[in-house]
Structures are given as C-alpha cells and as structure tokens.
Symmetry: D2
Subunit: 509 residues, 4 copies
C-alpha cells in the first residue's frame, strides 16, 4: 500500500501474445497460455481483460473473449472452452484511466477488412491521438470507442487505401503508422497466422519476447531451437516464468518483429529523429513493473535496491532501524539498510483482505484512515528512531496516518526517505497521474513537507540519483563495478517527464 | 407455445425512440420511457437490449447502456441511474439470428464522426449487406461487428465524404443510404438533438409514431398539441399504452421523419422503383406483432380473428368444439368459432413456469415432449370432436404430442386448422426461419401431414385467404363492410415471400 | 393479473415427493422428477425451493439443495448433479407470508435424531403453532426458525421420548402430532426409505398421489401395477402430467399413507371430532389451484366455469359482450357467456414481460397504474356494453384502472361480475390475506362499490352460489346432472372462513 | 504461500463481538464494527461469515446476516443496511473442515427459547461432540446441522430444564456446559443485551477483549473509562487496530466474562482438573495468528522471530544469504539472519493474483507446479549458498519446486531451515490437518527428506526449541532477558499435540 497504489497512479495496460510453434493444430492450448500470461501482467491493469485467438488458416476463424474485472473473473472457465482451438492469439489487460469502464473499450480490438480480420492490443498512449482521430474521421470513418486501440486499427485499415485484388502489405502499413505517431506504444497486431510485435521509436513502453520450451528443460542448458514449443511476447518478462518460457530478448525501440510458427524475425527498425535518445519510462523501474521483470538487461528489483542505496548515500540518517511501507518499497528499504549499515526490521503488517471492504465508513471509521489497513509490529520499533522508506509521496494521504500510528505506538523519531524524486508533471504517454494540483510536490505544504505529514524529517531521491541507479553509476557495495548496462553510453536515455517536465517529443495539444 | 415459438421463428428486433418536448432539461426521464417502451417490444427480441440517450446540447453527451437478456436483466436499476439526464434517446431489443450472442453486437451502435456522434438502431436485414460491407471496407474502413447497424452507421459517416468546415447534411446522407439499399429496414438515427425515423421504400418493417400526453388526458379528447410532453417512435404501437402515449401515425414506406422537441416533421419520401408495390411483412400480422398493435389502420387482433373466420369458410368441419393452442392462436380460434357457430372451449392449460427449466432431460423425460408444458382440461373435450386452431405448423414437433395428448385424454377426433399458409421459403429480410429442409411443408411427410402428426384432418389457410383477411375482403358477420382499409387499392401490397417465393426485390448473392 | 395476484393473496406452499419403485439404485433420477414436480407447483410459491433426497439405505445419506427464487434459479444444473443418486426424496416450494425471505426458512427441514435423519415438508399453517412452540421450548428445545416445518420436526423427535435401544415408532409419533394439532397441514415426512404422506383431519390442504408409468403407456389402459416406475405425491395433481405420472388417488382427510418402493399403503385415519365436517379450503377451487388439477373428483377448471354460470343466473346483465380479466378469470367468463348466451370476446391483452420491471416509476408513470400491463383490444368492445368477469375484488386497485381504460377506449358500459363472494375475514390456515382494513368488503366504499371503482354495476357471487358450484348443485346446461361428486352427502364440507368468519376449529390465541 | 497454506492446514474459525457503551440507541453502527472486525479475522476462515445483532431491549429484535465466501462478498452493502440499528452483536467467520460448504452451517447459530433468543458463535472443536450429540438427541431434540455451534446452543437451552415462570440462569447453564465439555472452545453467547465471552478451562483457543475509544484518543494516554464508546471481544487482538479499539485484556482459561453497556465483568472461572496445565494451541504462534496479535502478553511476530533465532542456534549453516518463503516465514527468516549474522535478502517474488486462477491446467502447465506462483529474484542469489527459512513442511509439494527453481536459477546450495517441528499427529481441537498418511513426517521419504525435496540440507526446529521461543527461554541478542512472560512458571502450558501426540485431555472416540 504505497502512495502510488492509494492515489491511483498506474499503468494503462499489459499486452501478451503467443504463437504455437511447429505443426498446427497444436496441443499447446494457446488460450490457457494467454490467460496465465495476462494473470502475470495483472498488476498493469485490473479493469478488464480480453483475448483473441486465431486458428491460423486462411481465412482465419477468430474467437474473442472479453470481460470486466480481473482476468479470472473476466474469463470464466466455461467461456475459455470456446477458445480452445486457437494456434495463436493476443491478449490485453486494461487499467482504466478515464473512468469509462465499459466492455466496449476492452481490448484487443478486432476489425474485418477487405483482406481479412486484424486484431490489435496496445499499451501506451498516442501523444497525437486527437489529431489522428480527426484525420480518420475526415476520411469518413466513424469511431465507436475512445480507445487508441480502435484508432490504430482503423489507421492500419485505412492507409494506404486497400486494394481489392492484392494482399495488403501490413508491414508497410505498420511502418506508415509509426511515422504518423512517434510514441507511446508497444503494440501487438495479429493477422491470420502471424503476430507483429512493435515498439515505438522511443521505446517508451516495454515489450519482451520469450520462448516456450519443454518444462523439463526450462532451466537447463538444453532445449535447442528445435525443441521450441512456441513463442510468447509480453509487456514484462515476469510472465515467462509462470507459463514455462525462457527469456529471449527485448523488442528494440522502433523495431517491428514478426512472430509466427516458423520463429521470430526482425523486419525493420523505424528510427528516431536524429539526436533523440530513447525514452523508456523510468517509472517502470520505480513502481509499475513487477520486481522480477528484466528491462535493458537488468532486474527491476536490483534497480530498486540501488535506488535505496543511492538514497542512503544522498540522505543518511541517525537512526536505530530501517523499515518499509510494505510491499513495494521493500527492495529500496533493504538497499538503504545495506548501504547505511542500520538493521532492517518490519514495523507494519498489512491486512491483505481489507482492501476489498465496501462498507460505507461512518465518521468514526473514516477517522481511522489508511492506518486501519496496517497492524503495528510494536516490539520492533517502540523506543526507537525509525527510517521508513517509501517509494513515493503523491498526496501525503497514506504516509501521514502511518507516521502517526508509528509515533503513537512508540517510535521516538520517524524519518521518511522516498526512493524516487517528487512527481511534478503530468504524463501524456499512458500513465495515470493525479492532476498537477493534487500532487503534493506542487503545493505550498511541500515547503514544510515533514511538518505537513508529521515526520521527523523527509528526504527524496534526486533525479540524478535515480538516473544513476537506473543507468548504472552506483559503486558496488563490494567495490566492484555494478554497471551491468554498457548501454550507459550515448544511446541510453529514459523518460523522466513526470519528474522534470522534459517530454521526449514536443506535444501539440 | 405455438410451433412458431418452439421452432425459433422470430423477428430480428424492435426499435424505440423518445424525444422530450418543450424546454430541456426535462422531467420526463427519457431513459425510463425507453426502458418501458422496450419492455413492450420484448416479444420482438429477448437476447439483448440497449439504449443511448443524449442531453441534446452541442456537442452532446451520449450515455449508453447495454446488456444481455431481457430488458429488465440488461438494465439493472443502478445502471439506469447513469442515464437519467437525457432529453432524447433511442433503444433496441435484439433477437439473435446468428447464434453470436455477444454484447458487442448489441445495438444501438454509436460512432464519433467529424461532426459529432450519431447513434443507430435498426430493425430488418439489408438484402445487399455483403456488397455494402465490401464497399465500405474497400474504402479502408474496418468493421468490428457483423451487424447491419454498424454497417449503416459507417455508410452514413462515409458518403459523401465528410467536410470539416460545414455541418454534415445528415438527411442527404440518409437518402443516399436509402438509394444504396432498398430494403429491409426501419431505422432510428439519433444526432445531437434530433431523431430521424426512417422506413425503407418497401415499408417492409413497421414503425409508428406516438405522442406523450398528460396521463390525465390520455384517453380524453383534450390534450392538444400544446400539451404534448414528448414524442415516441416504435416498431409497434402496442408500446404506446404502457408509457402513456397516444397513437399518432405510421411512418410511411420510404419516408424520413424528423422528430425533435419542436415536433414531428416529414422531410422526404424516397420512392420505390416504378410499378413496385409496398411489401409490408405479412407475418407481422400472422405472428410477430402483439395483438393490440395497429398497422395500416387495423388492429392485429382483428386481422387474426378474420384469418380464423376465413379459415372456417375455406375449411369447415363437422365437430363439437373449437379450441386453441394457447396463446397466440386464440384470436383465430375465436374467429373460427364465430364463423362456424361451434362452441369455443379451452382444452389446454399452459404452465407458464416450465419454459425456463434448464435440467437435462433423461430419456424418460424427453419422451414426454412438449406436452409436459400443457395440462389437459379433459372435462371440456372428453368424448368430443375437437377443432384445434394453431397459427402454423413449422416442423410438426409441437402439435404432434398435443394431438396425442388430446386423443389419449378422450377426444374422439382432432381436426387441425392452421390460420396461415405453409411456410416454404427462406426470408432474407430479417425473419429467422428454419432451413428449407426443416420446414415440414417442403418434406415428403407433408403429403400426408394429417397422418404424420396424428390428426384426424389438417387444413391450412390459403395465401389468397390470408391476403383477403389482411387486405379486407371478408364480408362482415353482421353483413356490414369490414374494409377499414381503403388502401385496398393499387398501392396496397404485402410481402409473402416465405409463403410464395416472390421476393419484393431481386436478390444478388 | 387478477386482484388476487396484485394484492398478494397466495398459498403458502406446495409439497412434492417421489419414491422410485422396484430395485434400487434406480435409473429414475428422482431429483429431476422432484424438480419438475415443483416447477408444476410453482404457482403455489415462488420465494424459495428445496429438495432433499435419500439413497434409502440404512443409515441413509441425505442430500439437500435449497435456494431462493423460482425452482429453476434455486437449483442450478450443476448443483442438481449432487443429488443424482437419490432413490426417494421430498421437495417444497415456498410462498413468503411474513416477508422474511431467508434461506434458513426454506423447506424441507431436516434433523438428525437418535434413530437417524427425518425430513419434513409442510403445506398449511398450524392453528395452534404458538402453543406448540411454547410446549417444545418448555421441554428445553431451542427453535432456530419461525417455520412450522421445524416445529413439526422437533415435535416428531420429541414425543414420546426417544428410546436409544429400539427403533422409534414414527407412525405413532405422527398420530400423536395429529392429535396435538387439528389443522392445517398436508405433510410429507421422509425417513430413510419411506415417505409418510399426511393430511390433517379436516383435509384443509390438498394432497394427491400419482403413479409413474412408462411414458409409452401413460395414457393407455395398459401399465399395470407391475410396470410402476415410481410413486409421487403432490399438493396438486396438475404436476403428474409433466413428469409422466397417472393420477392415483387423494390422501383422505386425517389419513397417514406410507409410500415406499413396495407401493402405497394406508396406515391409519385420524378422525375429526364427532359432528365436524371436512373443511377443504374453498379458495383452492376459486383461485389457488391450477385449473387442470383434480380435487374431490372434479376438475378445478370445471368448478370455475360453474361459478361463472351460477353468477350469470344470480346476476344477469343487459349487455353486448362478456369478457375476462386474463388469465385466471377466463373459465368463469366463459361459463358466464355460456349461461347468458352473450358472445365471449377478449378485450385485454396482457404484456407477459411487464411484471418483472424493476424501475422506480416517477409520478407520471405511476399514474398509468396497472393498466400499463394491458393492451386494449378496442375493436372488440368500442361502442359496446361489456360484462367483465373477474375472480375477486380485494382492494380495488387493479380493476379500477382497467375499467377506466375500457371506458375511455370506447366501452359504453362496464359491468363487473365477480366469480366469488367478497373476502371479509382473515385466514389462519395458511393463506396470506391482506389485513381486514385493507379488504374492500370491510370498508365504507363497499357501500357504493360500483361508484368507487367506476363500474356501471358490480355484482358478486353469493356464498351459497359458490358452495353450490363446488358441491354440485347447478343444473347442467344440457339438462343432464352435473353432480360428479356423489360425496355431496353429509360428509362434504368446505372451509369458507374468509368469506363467512366460520372457522373449522376454535382458535385459541 | 507456505506449505501450511498450500496443504489446507487452517484454523476453524474466528469470533468477534461488540457492545455499544452508554445510552442506546447508539451511533456506533455495531454492524459495521462487526464487519470490519471479521475482516481483520479473515485469515482464520474464508468459507462463510455471519453476524447477528440485537437491539438490546426486552424482548429483543435480532437481525441475522449470513453469506458464503469472504466477509465482503457475504455481506453486500445493501444487506448490511438491514442491521444498522443493533446495539450489540456477535459475528463469526468460518473455515470449512468438512467440505460441506452450506449456508446452514454458517454461524452464529440463533435459537428461540422459552425466555427469548440466544445466539452462539464458536471457535474450536468439542472433543466429546459425538457423545454430546447423542445426549441431546436422547432427550428428543433433533439437530439440523453438524456444527458444534448448534449443539452448544441446544445444550444451553436444554440443561437444566427451562422453567416457564422465572428467567433462566444462563450463567449456570454456561457453567454446566463447561463441565460437560472440557475443550476446545472460545465462545460468544449473546442474550438480549449482554454477550458472555467464554474460554474453555484449557484456554485452547484465544479470546481477547478491547475497548473502543474516541479515535482522537486511540493512542494517547487519555480516554478514561468514562469515554468508552463500546467493548469488543475477538479471537485475536489484531482486529482492534482496524476498528479503533485499545487492547484491554485476554479472557482467562475457564473464565466467563459478561460484556454489557455497563462494562466488562468477570463472572466466574471454571477450573481445570487438578494438575492439568493450560493448553493454548502452540500453532496460533507458529502459523495461524496474524503477526500483530498479542497472546499471553507477547506479540506473535516476536515469537516467530525468536523461533528463527532459536533455529539458527540449533541449526547453524555455512551460507552466503538467508531468505524466506514469503510471506508467513519472514519473521523467522529475519530472526535467523539476526542470530546468524548472515545477510537477509529476498529471493522470491510472489504473484498475488495467481492464486485465484480457475483454469484447468493441461499436463504442461501442471508440470510447472507451485513455482509458477513465484518469480525468482536471481540477482540476489545466483552463485550463492542460500538458507531458505520456511514455517513448515507438510507434504513437500510446495517447497520442492521452489528449491528446484532456485537451484536452476543459479543458487549453488539451498539449505532448508524449518521454523517449527514436524507435524506428526492429528488435531481434535479445531485445526484442519491432513491425514496422518499425507504428513511427510510420517512417511518413509522423511528419512532422507533433503534428498526427497532436493535440498542441500534440511533441519527442523526442535519441540523444546519451539517451547523455549514461546515460553521465553531464549537469551536476548543484546544480552538482556527477553522473558516478557513471567507466567513462565508452573501455570504456563501449551498444546503441542500435533507435534508430540500428547493431548491435553483424554479422547474418548
């Protein structure tokens, strides 16, 4: 229960695709793989989920399953049966940014075209969506939803005009689309028997490829290409473990990858404007991604731990113990403890059931605030000075009652250490961020933030510190160089727009 | 439980619209009027229901509510609340002909265009849908459903190309659409603050207009135009009673009527090809419509009663009593009794709960057949010769066990009199009819239909007899002329394609 | 939609039992027979349903299935599977009289005793329930529900005290119970491998026995005892048709019948106090029962038709047509038409979907009243004098807007003829009747009832007329004697307490 | 996801009660307090939940709400409204041990007696339930469920026989019950306006009392008795925090405490047989209780940490890092790390959504096993020797694939350290334990447990070590005495039956 969680900051979506390798029909049960893959991406969107499978023959039969809520609610087992014969498919889990929680906004979006059906799943937000919508409508196309996914689908159908006699050149259409919209998207486009996996030229959203191998060989050196059971593509590599896939590689910024039963093939890389660096969203490291996912060759958990270490370097504290606001801040807290040499203890115990309580609180219950979700492990901190590491302070609504709880239960001092810089700017690339006015960093209270939230002291990680933790500039504890990431060269770049206001592309609103 | 019901013959849809009159915002609660209006059209479709309301300002806010099943299940009260502020709206209730029972096929269909949103509700089936789909897709538009409603909406958006600066001429677009597809459709198109009500040039599907008046003046001569509370438009006039509206008039074949808060205005009538008669679906009279609806100036109940009288003229019987297979055949049975002078009695009592039983019958239970839905009122027919009037025999599966039941319970003879001619041909204009092979009239058994179903005798109404009952050629019982319908002139015509194979337009498949 | 239906007058319950004949385990699928049997009794209670099956061995395994709502909602198919192995069972469908709609009040009630489990299903209401509850509680038994069924079950367990060594004499216990409470109950008690079917000494509630025969022989003379597939026992014989059973006989007032796989055996008849007549509820004939049920040798439909005829004799009218408030008053209306010689027509068409609308009516919609559930078949009555037969007037809320509708739609006169006497007194034997104050017959308006409801005239059937229709005193139309019922001797009696205030037993409150 | 969780080991129930203090009616909204209290006890039972409130006047009105599933599913907000006027109430959350998941087994159990209604909620299992059931039934009482709660309720109603004129002496009845059954129960009995809170003489199940104070004074020294807003009683003190209550005290073994609006009063202490020690279930410390609960003056978290420290003393390891199987083993792992001086790291990341997946795994997916619920945080252990602390090994099904995962992902050694002794015996006092055959400690594989599960080594905590951690015999890390618990005298005792086979009372089966 970090401030991120409480304040509704969140990713827009997760995408997942799977193609069975070898002869079709396959025994792989693609719909089950897709379902489990989406479950592993559930943290990226809990509002609705959808999958579309194709039997892969020409013309193909597509089966669609969509539903509201968590994947397991959205896909009751009896409905999954309908999809059992697919040989490939794509799926999507959606986080509502707009409050319109209707089934019709649920992805993937499927349309019939002159040359057959295409299905599209999208993670991100097109920075020039409004202009593109106008363009499509000017052509005489009505748009039935407000989703970028439909817009992308119609753009693909539209440009260049469909010719009746020949097959359409979908790759050319995809390239065309990529030239019309620079960011932000990681896309899956399914057409009959292939999935195109696409990342925008700035690489703003993640996308990784995995290889399904026999379970018995999952972790062994064996299982050569010949033993491949299928290919998967996912917003995050954390989903590979749960379906029995090995990490293969990332889709590169601007790359179009074709995935079919014959394997994985890079078709093209659409370049950025000269001089522009990549702009992978730094908040994937800070908060969104699951800690066991791998981006740019490094594990998210390790980056978060480094953020904690960097924070200990930047903001050391006289204290007795270091702790965490469970659960997302734990790697940073352990990093802080390691670097500072202070003992790590648990001070809060989270009631995992309380989040789902629907009862209308009366005045008395409302006063209890978010603290009612935590039990205090008093033995660990009574009479002690506590460093409490959290991953962010967005509105201050979560951390404030926790501090009160700790102090009243006997902590002599509570020092808040925030493992990321303050969020100050909106995101136009797919992240739901409270309005500028709601962000505590933009309000007068921020001047005396410690006083405002009742802490003994408050310190944030610097933007430079965060970049250094992400791009590998922190000296190892053991003295050895921890720069896993040799890309820490000219070509490395991350989007820090919400922290600095520097957007990767100019916005035309 | 007629053979029609049992065999799945059914209408595709019902449409309903409402515009509040006078100043907006209104107290009329348009969403409730729409809901009750759809409930009154529930017999035209039970698979899904949807409504879209507009607040009527520019740009408008549209609210959509869709759901599977009966109107009351599809619109839970808490969801209706969302729509409470509409000043106008359209609704739709759907009968699945294809077996694809998905929410995304649910109407009305709404799209955003360069000039704002339009919503479309459609009853009927476009005879040239396949060609039109191709045309739209050739233009580069992807179609996300298989519904005619989406197709119509994209056609309206597409032709002629949208101009950015000026408002679109929706009426010209509608006329254009009507020239592209001759039949079959009754359409409601909502745009911001008006509803266009359209019937195809052949008038194949019904559409009537009603006027909402103060309840206290509903049935009195008063309530002039000035007291109008709103306007409604509906597939059938039977829905007017339940919402407190007076019958106003039918939309004419080919007519485009504009309904706004300022009233009802006929904009245009798109003509048929010279020489073509109207082709209002005769099965609306025979089976689909509710008996209290009015088409072409006559009440459906009365037409059905005339069918029964005509049948008694064409197929008289030596018998003791006349009865009905409840409930749809009752008017015809009473007409038969009147004309023949035989006493009318009830012989079957229907268990209204049994239809919803989901248990898998074992062999024993399956043998009981449809007869388990009826109780025999033996006192009324034991030892007697029974004329049993039904509205049709489609497969013979329903009537056969009923005859067995009556005979075993003591009827000495069971004469079946069918109040419509045999169905022999498929319908391409929106009616779900079993395949040609399934229709009993096309099978060898039909040669000895009485023997096949176990009846003492079987007689059908002739096509001419049906037309005469519909178009007013039956002499009155009391000797007075019953031709309510002075349109029994050159301009009267009805579609009898399913009975005769004569389709109103040439089909190009 | 009669006044009965609208005003909530209703039966408390229906009971149904089934024992598979011959060798066990059986192929009969007792749980399915019970389910269909209860569906056929659904009109006696829609609030909840329950069944309990036993495998019939010693000690037995009982399986219970209960649920709220209609039988088909209460027993989802996947749950029915659990009960598939039963060889006998009892079921119950409940009508809530108290407003406490909780699953725990749902019957049958099952308890474990020293000698094994018994299950009880009850239709009726114990007139001395309060005293019996006290007696049980004084013995130290806590009662967990307010249902008579639990009370009966604990009384059976209690008296005489259970002996550990010997088997209990359940029949003696049942007799004992019958001596403690004179009425009103029709009871099914299941114990291991038998069902005891019991009717109270006054025979206040109905109970009939049927025999399951091979479907192929259902209506033929064949199917001797040897071909019996099972035995069923039901509140009403109308349920026999739908499960393939033949009517066998009624359980007599005061009789205890044992039903097992070996057949049906009358064990005892507990007598009434000397001089007391039976008191079968006359409202079973008037309203509750399904028209195809048989009580005391006569079909309910025919009795209702006789009520209409008697009404025409008692209250003849100068009019043009006779009609009904559909559907329950139809037999009486047809009887009135027959006797009076006036033509029978339909004037109202009921929307069968409207009953389930949950939307909160606004003022405008509320003004429409119950009339919104009916369409007017104007052609049949405009300019005519109408006799409208209804089965009762309870509060006047239903009939009044219907009269208004007919008059405004053109009826010149509307004469109401009520096919039963006015209800004036409460029932303490299981029927839910509005409070004395709510009954129109007890209010000042009744003085000028015609004026109050807006009718041209109003006439009720007399109590004597009703008894004569029930007990067989009406001369046949054809002149032949219609007294089917030779029991019209000293031993015939019916409870008319709600009409006359004469209760069959003295009440001690 | 410990082996406990995976193998279905679990508590039977949690109980919770609340009485509003001061004048009634109160603003406290007792039903909401009960609901939140049960949510905080949700870990003790997820199968069903129920609450009963009383308005506290004589005769009282009781309102009951029960439902299947988690508290929030079981009590939809609209149903909670019904209970809003209660002044006191009790609740229960149930864990199914028998597989019979029916609503009727849901507690609290309410019965009507001669002197009014009593409601009972029970945590535990009566060791002599079978004999007591017989006794009750021999008295002529039928039992409608298999729950101990009903049995207790009927025993209270039964003995000594109810007298009509005088009020019953419920306290005498409760004492009588306690003499009839020695263990295991923590009971709440509600009667009109009081709740009796009872713990069995062995104190086998926990029960604590809390005081509701103004939220503003929750953690301050203020809020004297006069400011008490109400009293609560709960299986665990962890529920106090979430409703704004302060810990008051435990109910003592054998104690009967009366809780009313006037306060808390100890009525009696029923003694154990001479020489018998208390027998508080040691598994409440080891696994069941939430870590922030307090038993016998010590925090559960701290006891678990001490178990880890003791384990490090008993079973030291040459290794590089210490880690946990999240989340229940974390305190023990941190304790092990502290004591051993090895660094604590996280090696596994749990997907919190995966547990609810309902899809039928195919062979391929099944092979993935429980490991698919965890992501490997490889950076933290690749190339290292890992000590993995878990709280138990029950069947070995969970730990085995986790070890495989760690080793394949690069751990050079995996030493399993189990923070409790092996379970070898069944529990008859309310804990659901797999059959003796399923327990790994009773199987031949246990001989070479490390080989069987694939670990480098396996060591368990000794029974003496566990008792020492619980009863306070471990020297402090800092050298100071950590025996918080001065009851470490003769009167301290814990039930270790499942570990040692020594049951607190002799069992008569």
């Amino acid at each position: 229960m970090s401030e991120f969680e409480e304040s509704g900051i969140g990713e827009e979506c997760g995408v997942f695709g799977c193609v069975a390798a070898g002869e079709w029909p396959t025994q792989l049960e693609v719909a089950k793989v897709l379902t489990l893959g989406l479950v592993a991406l559930q943290h990226r969107g809990q509002e609705s989920a959808g999958i579309v499978t194709s039997n892969g023959v020409n013309p193909p039969t597509y089966n669609t399953l969509k539903g509201m809520g968590l994947v397991n609610n959205a896909f009751p087992p009896e409905n999954l049966l309908k999809l059992r014969y697919g040989n490939l498919g794509i799926g999507h889990t959606r986080y509502s940014t707009t409050g319109i929680s209707e089934l019709q906004n649920c992805q993937p979006f499927v349309v019939d075209t002159l040359h057959g059906k295409i299905a599209v799943a999208h993670n991100g937000e097109l920075v020039n969506a409004a202009a593109l919508r106008k363009k499509v409508m000017r052509h005489g196309v009505g748009l039935s939803t407000s989703s970028d996914s439909e817009l992308i689908t119609q753009l693909l159908a539209l440009t260049p005009p469909m010719e009746e006699l020949d097959a359409p050149d979908w790759v050319a259409r995809i390239k065309n689309l990529m030239h019309e919209t620079p960011t932000s998207y990681s896309l899956l486009v399914m057409y009959t028997d292939v999935i195109y996996a696409i990342r925008d030229p700035y690489g703003n959203r993640p996308l990784s490829i995995g290889r399904l191998v026999p379970i018995s060989k999952l972790h062994t050196a064996g299982a050569g290409e010949g033993e491949t059971e299928g290919w998967v593509v996912s917003s995050e590599s954390c989903s590979f473990q749960s379906i029995g896939a090995r990490y293969y590689r990332e889709v590169m910024p601007g790359e179009i990858v074709q995935i079919s039963k014959h394997g994985v093939k890079s078709l093209s890389i659409v370049p950025r404007p000269e001089g522009d660096l990549p702009a992978f969203c730094i908040f994937e490291y800070v908060y969104f991604a699951r800690p066991d996912s791998i981006f740019e060759g490094q594990m998210v958990y390790t980056v978060r731990q480094r953020c904690g270490r960097q924070l200990a370097i930047e903001a050391p504290t006289e204290a007795d113990v270091v702790s965490t606001v469970p659960e997302s801040a734990t790697p940073a807290a352990l990093g802080y403890a390691q670097q500072s040499g202070l003992p790590y203890v648990e001070v809060l115990c989270k009631n995992r059931y309380v989040g789902r309580t629907f009862i209308q609180p009366n005045t008395r219950l409302r006063q209890l605030g978010v603290a009612k979700k935590f039990g205090a492990l008093t033995d660990n901190f009574t009479g002690k000075r506590v460093v409490l590491v959290d991953d962010s302070i967005v509105r201050g609504n979560t951390i404030s009652p926790i501090i009160k709880l700790l102090k009243e239960a006997g902590a002599t001092e509570v020092h808040i250490r925030v493992a990321s810089p303050p969020i100050r700017f909106p995101c136009y690339m797919g992240i739901n961020i409270p309005t500028k006015e709601e962000l505590i960093a933009n309000r007068p209270e921020f001047e005396d933030i410690a006083g405002y939230i009742g802490a003994t002291s408050v310190r944030y990680l610097s933007v430079e510190g965060l970049l250094s933790a992400v791009q590998g500039g922190i000296p190892s504890l053991q003295g050895k160089d921890e720069r896993i990431n040799t890309k820490a060269s000219r070509s490395v770049g991350h989007c820090t727009a919400c922290l600095t206001g520097k957007y990767p592309v100019e916005l035309e609103w």
